[in-house]
Amino acid sequence: MIEEPFARGTTFFHRRDARVKLIPALAITLILALSSSFLVTGTGCILTGVLLTLSRPDPGLLLRRICSVNIFTLFLWFTLPLTYGGTKTLPFFFLDLSLDGIRVATLITLKTNGILFCFLALLATSTVASLGHGLEKLGMPRKLTFLLLFSYRQLFVIHQEYLRLQRAARLRGFIPANSLHTYRTYSHLFGMTLVKSWNRAERVHQAMVLRGFNGTLIPLNQPELRREDYLFLATILLISFLLAAIPFFC
């Protein structure tokens, strides 16, 4: 089942308006993504790690998330030290590992995880619904917001429909293997899900029309920003600023 497990919680982070989390999340991500300094990325990783701890995520779940995101990093660790080239090498058993390759792989690992921590602390603590509205307030086109929110609403229905069909296939002795039969079966399961979604779209559209929808979407006002929100925004922006300024002091 698709869930938003990190959004369930009542910490200070969970209670903040999505907007004041989106802006600093973007700032920190940008700083980390564009930096090539170990100091910045290392400090960033620690800072975002602290933020993440404050948002009190479920440890087991957190570990699984970190692992799944680091699969790509692992790929880099297996390839870059062998293929990156450069002049300096590090002998390792019978291999010559590229020092530059190791350096780059480390840097990317720091960046990836720093950004992941920042994401988990700031964005995963809001539901998609509130993030969608936050993004719209921050200037995302309205149609795109509605696309996001509508597909978010129907995602669960469609996924469950698919799972039920898959269960039916399993009950009829279907065991996935490397065969044309398997690929055809998956296509049929997915194709049926697609047909159902297509037809559901028609009915949901009718539901909108019945409620007076005639082409313009009127947003319902969102809660006002509170003092704590501004305080939160200022604090994290200050931290990001300091992070960005590190190279100028060292």
């Binding site: 539901t127 998609v128 619904a129 969608g132 929110l149 509508f150 978010y152 609403r153 129907q154 995602l155 669960f156 229905v157 559901r200 009915r203 949901v204 009718q206 539901a207 909108m208 029309v209 019945l210 409620r211 007076g212 929808f213 005639n214 009127i218 947003p219 319902l220 006002n221």
Partner: protein
Amino acid sequence: MITLPPLIELRNITYSCPGRTSPLLKEINFSSSKERIGLIGPNGCGKTTLFQIIMGLLTPDKGEVLLQGRIMKDEKDFRLLRRKLGFLFQNSDDQLFSPTVLEDVAFGPLNLGSSPEEAREISVRTLEGLGLKGFEERITHRLSGGEKKLVALATILSMQPDLLLLDEPSNNLDPETRERLIGILKDLDQAHIIISHDLDFLASTCSHLYTIEDQKLIRCKAKQIHSHDHIHPYGDHPHQHGT
């Protein structure tokens, strides 16, 4: 004394499904103002189709739909009609499309021209009336089946319609929610037409019954609805209890 025209009237409605030869509904005449009506009939006899015709979602081959004596001709007329009539779908998942309950309930009023504050206020009030206080920020897809049904009802009631068309509202409800819904429907001011296979449910919420037989809409005999017994409106046809 001037007699007001009925709120809703059907005149000579004939409708055939695309791709079928014989019509599903044939020369149906019907009018209703402030009654509480139950509509029963075997599967596929055209009950849902009839509701869709009334709401202007399907166009009949022949005949007219009238709102307060005025013939509904085009989409613009039907927009007016849709403010007066609320249609509850058989499947609530098709009816709820906003992420949170409050947004979904406020969607109608906003489209009808309420300001965001008014819409919010109406929605909160409607939810309260249905015993759904505190549900405002809940995510709709995470609600239980019964809760979804009640929220779907709220999205319709917030538009303050004069007549409710409810398509199998007691389907898939557990006994408590079902009882709660009966209570709600009894307390509401609005008239309603309810499609259901659940005769007990109809007995407690409606004052008389219609059925569709041989493509015609027929009013059932009066006494049938008032007995709480096991009644068989389909007469001598093979019939089905339960379901």
